[in-house]
Structure formats: structure tokens, C-alpha cells
């Protein structure tokens, strides 16, 4: 079962929830898809790390064949190519690797080369397979890294927890496409509500079963909770605003490994998700 954890925005506790869930239900697989700012590894401190480069294809020119016909430049929708006089130029940061320029070049002057944009690190931490995607600073899109994270082989019988990037753009969609269930983490503020509404729209768009964890709950108004009640969204858990959590979390400790009540809470959460997702009966028998 693949469970995606998302929040619309960083800082709401996405990593807290996914790390603790994966730790509580080990053996499991934890995928850190927040490839721009991966943090899960700081908690797991995985051992025996294996690294794998992630590359994308970009065009390169054979100047002896190029006759500056500009076919490629005119084709490129991303304006990643230019012809300065008769000199062919590539702005590789904005190339989307669609391959069109190489395919259409009448002189066959272009070919594709691999460019590294980041890497994937895989290690283990007390029964959790920790897989982290890293985008190199200065590179624009982490989507190829996320695709590679998902493509890597995982033990099928183990639940997979996907720590999604913040927001609701292309990179998030790639992270939830294969999810069986989505956990939305929400804060009790107006900002929190605004972001919750956005990811809620996203999971509805993708027709994913979903539920909400209310994080950092304090006494008083909780606009996010009101929204869940009004919309009939399952509230899976309410995590209090608690200085102990804050301290352990900011020092990179895993609650479920240190405090029995949190181990219990995240185990219960997993059980609840399996029940509401109807996973126990339906999907298990497909395997």
C-alpha cells in the first residue's frame, strides 16, 4: 500500500507524520519526494547508503553538420535553444528533455547526452528502507528524480510512505499519482486552512481516498477542523501543539522510537487508514 503525505505547504508536519508513520510500522519503505529540501534522512540517519545519479537527456550539437537552419530553435516551446549568428546554443536549465529538437533536425546534427541533475540515496534505518531524492541546487525540476524514486524496486509486501513536496504543482502530482491513500496534514490557522483547501482540491481531482491529520492543535479556534467537519472529511488524528514534540523534532529525533504513546498513535493511524481505504479486503487479495 502506498500512502502519500501532503500538506499544501511545508512546515505543517508532513515530514513529522511520514517519518513517524514509517518508523512505527517498520518494515516499511520511506520515500522522500521533497527533492528540493529533503529532511527525512536527518531523522532516520540511514546506514549503508547507496548512491545513484539521476540524469536527464539534453541535446548536443555536431557543429560540422549544423547549417543553422533554425528548425530546432523554432520548435523548442521552452526557448531553451538559440542561434547566435550561426552558433547553436543551449540553455540547459530550461530544457525539458522532450527530445523534439534532436528528432526534427533535418541535418541530424543533434544528439542527446546525459546531464546529471541530482541523485538518489538509499539506506536503511531500523527496518525502514529510506530512499531520498536530491536535486542539485540551481536545477529547476525535480520531477525526473521523483519518477526515478518511484521506479526503484521496493519490497512489495511492505507499506510505502511517500513524503511529498510542498504545494500542489506538477511535482506534487507526480508524487501522488500512484498513491492508494493520501494523508493531508493541516495547521490550525487561516494559512493552514487555505493550504488545506488547495490540497483537498488536488486529491479530489485525482479521486484519491484521503483523510486529515490536524497538527499543532491548540486551545481555541481551528479553522482547518471546521472545514473538515463541514466537508465531511475524515479526521484521522489530532496532534497537540506540544513542546516535547517540538524539541525532539527540531533535534531530528523520531517520536515513535522514543515515546511509546506516539508509537501507538502512528500504529493506530496506519490501521485506521487500512480500514477506511478498504485495503484489508480489496487490495491485499490482488497481490
Amino acid at each position: 500500500m502506498k500512502i502519500a503525505v501532503l500538506s499544501g505547504k511545508g512546515g505543517t508536519g508532513k515530514t513529522l507524520v511520514s517519518v513517524n508513520l514509517a518508523a512505527a510500522i517498520a518494515p516499511s519503505v520511506y520515500l522522500d519526494c521533497d527533492v528540493e529540501e529533503p529532511n527525512g534522512h536527518l531523522f532516520f540517519r540511514p546506514k549503508s547508503i547507496q548512491r545513484e545519479a539521476v540524469t536527464v537527456k539534453i541535446p548536443a550539437v555536431d557543429e560540422t553538420k549544423c547549417n543553422a537552419c533554425r528548425t530546432c530553435v523554432e520548435f523548442c516551446k521552452f526557448h531553451a535553444l538559440a542561434m547566435v549568428g550561426t552558433r547553436w546554443m543551449l540553455f540547459d536549465d530550461i530544457c525539458h528533455s522532450c527530445g523534439g529538437c534532436t528528432l526534427l533536425c533535418p541535418q541530424q546534427a543533434l544528439h542527446e547526452v546525459e546531464k546529471s541533475i541530482g541523485e538518489i540515496q538509499t539506506g536503511t534505518s531500523e527496518g525502514v528502507t529510506v530512499r531520498t531524492g536530491w536535486l542539485d541546487p540551481g536545477q529547476s525540476s525535480g520531477v525526473p528524480i521523483i519518477r526515478k524514486l518511484f521506479a526503484a524496486e521496493s519490497p512489495l509486501d511492505q507499506p510505502m510512505i511517500v513524503d511529498c513536496p510542498p504545494g500542489s504543482a506538477c511535482i506534487v502530482m507526480d508524487s501522488i499519482r500512484d498513491a492508494d491513500y493520501c494523508i493531508l496534514v493541516a495547521e490550525p490557522t487561516l494559512f493552514g486552512l487555505h493550504n488545506l483547501k488547495m490540497v483537498h482540491e488536488l486529491v479530489r481531482l485525482f479521486q484519491k481516498p484521503h483523510g486529515v491529520i490536524l497538527n499543532k492543535c491548540i486551545e481555541g479556534d481551528n479553522p482547518s477542523k471546521d472545514y473538515c467537519l463541514e466537508q465531511g472529511i475524515t479526521i484521522l488524528e489530532s496532534i497537540p501543539f506540544d513542546k516535547t514534540i517540538g524539541r525532539l523534532n527540531s533535534n531530528g529525533r523520531i517520536l515513535a522510537r522514543e515515546l511509546p504513546q506516539y508509537h501507538e498513535m502512528f500504529t493506530r493511524l496506519h490501521q485506521k487508514i487500512r480500514e477506511v481505504a478498504g485495503y484489508e479486503t480489496a487490495a491485499d487479495s490482488e497481490r
Binding site: 499544501g8 505547504k9 511545508g10 512546515g11 505543517t12 515530514t15 521533497d34 528540493e36 529540501e37 529533503p38 529532511n39 536527518l42 520548435f75 516551446k77 521552452f78 536549465d93 525539458h96 528533455s97 522532450c98 527530445g99 523534439g100 528528432l103 526534427l104 536535486l135 541546487p137 540551481g138 536545477q139 529547476s140 525540476s141 525535480g142 513536496p165 510542498p166 504545494g167 500542489s168 504543482a169 506538477c170 511535482i171 502530482m173 495547521e187 490557522t189 487561516l190 494559512f191 487555505h194 493550504n195 488547495m198 482540491e201 488536488l202 481531482l205 491548540i218 479556534d221 479553522p223 517540538g246 524539541r247 523534532n249 527540531s250 533535534n251 531530528g252
Partner: protein, 298 residues
Amino acid sequence: MKQLLILSGKGGTGKTTVASAFIKLSQARAYADCDVDAPNLHLVMQNLPVLDRTDYYGLPKAQIYTDQCIECDLCRQHCRFEAIHVNGTYQVDPFACEGCGVCAAVCPVRAIELKPATAGELMLYGDDRSVFSTAQLKMGSGTSGLLVTEVKKRLMAAAPSAELAIIDGSPGIGCPVIASISGVDLVLIVAEPSLSGISDLDRIVLTAAKFQTPVAVCINKADTNEGNAALIESFCEERGIPFTGRIPFDPMAVQAINTGRTIVDLDCPAGDAVREVFSKTLIQLGKGKSLTILSKKE
């Protein structure tokens, strides 16, 4: 015009809280929200009338005319984004399509066209004093970098004579962040005193360095982990990054935001601290060139 961009590597660190306070303190005539995925600044800066609301067209999306399609499969084979599926007929998944046009180019019977698609909405608010540019990306659309560029362009066009522009950035280090960094004079990074926050800070500093943009750092919720806050200060010292101060964790900040106010509208410790951060940041921003705003201290 001097452009100050506020970034954090991650959301939730208080970027918008700091940005909104800065806008209040500087009485900035020009400001923008470049977090087009999850814009929040309008929630605290909501009293300006709408000047303009425009649909934003990102890259087009492919459309297959099934009555002309001969099912040769060339489009599907050449699509690098796995955006073409066969479900009885050939169809384009609009979420996966990046609008590159390869499918249309290889189609032997011209059954594929690229069609404009709205990817979001651009909003410009303002009155005779100030201008606020923001946008909202449509759910599930890509191309947020292009939209960020558009938000900034509209801000500059609407307030060409403003001395200072304050830009609330987006989380991460990817395309929207790169688009927002381009052309700014200083990036103020709002860091959080956690191991995650330190890791994020490091990566955003590296990203700004790639684009040769000067950075300054402040810490929000600094007292939630004094040890990590000290680590961040020494991180800045080692790298020669100007440090502009610590803002304490303050429950009043949540209250301010929830009632649509900024932290300097309330009398609270976070508000006091952010004033200090503001004046130190302006000094960094004004280095080499004098800002009249510097002399306008209360």
C-alpha cells in the same frame, strides 16, 4: 528600485509573516507574492481594491482529434512525458502533457494540435499609494516558474517608481524559486532552528550563490531550540553571511495572522524583534546605494 526577496527553503517558517511585517514597516509601495502554488500574502494584505484580474496561459496542451487519428502510435512512442494513453481512442493526459509539441510534429495526419490552456490567474491589487501583484496557479498545472516571472513583471510595470519592492518567495529551490531570485538585490532567508531548517538553509544559500545573489539570514521561532539557533548563527559567521536577528516563537503571531493582521500591528515580542530584523536587512539591502527609506526611521 531595490528588490528584496524573502525565502526560506521550506514553507511554514514564517516567510509570509516576516514579509507582511516588512511591508507594513517600510510602507512599501510595491510588493508581490511569488508563492504561486500556495499564495498566502493576500490573506493579511487584503484591503486593496482589485486593479486587474487576468487569466494566465502557460504552455499549451496537446489535443488529439480522434476522427482524424489513424492510430499509428507514433505520438505515444515519442512522448517523453507518458502523456498519451490509449483508452479505446488516443487521449492526452492534460496533467502529464508539458506542451512540447513533439506529438503534433510526428503525427503523419495532423490529428494533433496544441491548444492554449489556462494555467492560473494573475491578480493585481492597488490604489494610488501601493501595488500588490500575486497569482494563483490552477490546481495541477506546471510552469509555475513562468507564472512567477509574470507576477514580477506586472509588479515592476505597475510601480516603476517605487523605491523598494518586497517579494514573498516560494518554498524549495526549484523552478519557481529560481524565477523569483532572478534580478533581486538581496535574498533574506528566514531560517528555523531545527536540523531540517539548517539543511534547508544550506541548500537555499547554495542556490542563491549559483545566481550570484547576496543573502542575509534571520531566525524565526529562535527560542524553540537555542542550540540550533546558535548553530545557524555560526553557519552565517563562517560563510560571511550577514545575520539580521532572531524572532522568538510568539503565540500572538498566530493570533495576528488568524485575524488578518501582521505581527507589527500587535504589541508582541515577535513584532518587536522583527523591527530590528527589518532595519538590519535594509542596511544590507542599501549597501553601496543609499535608500531614503533608511533615514525614515520611526
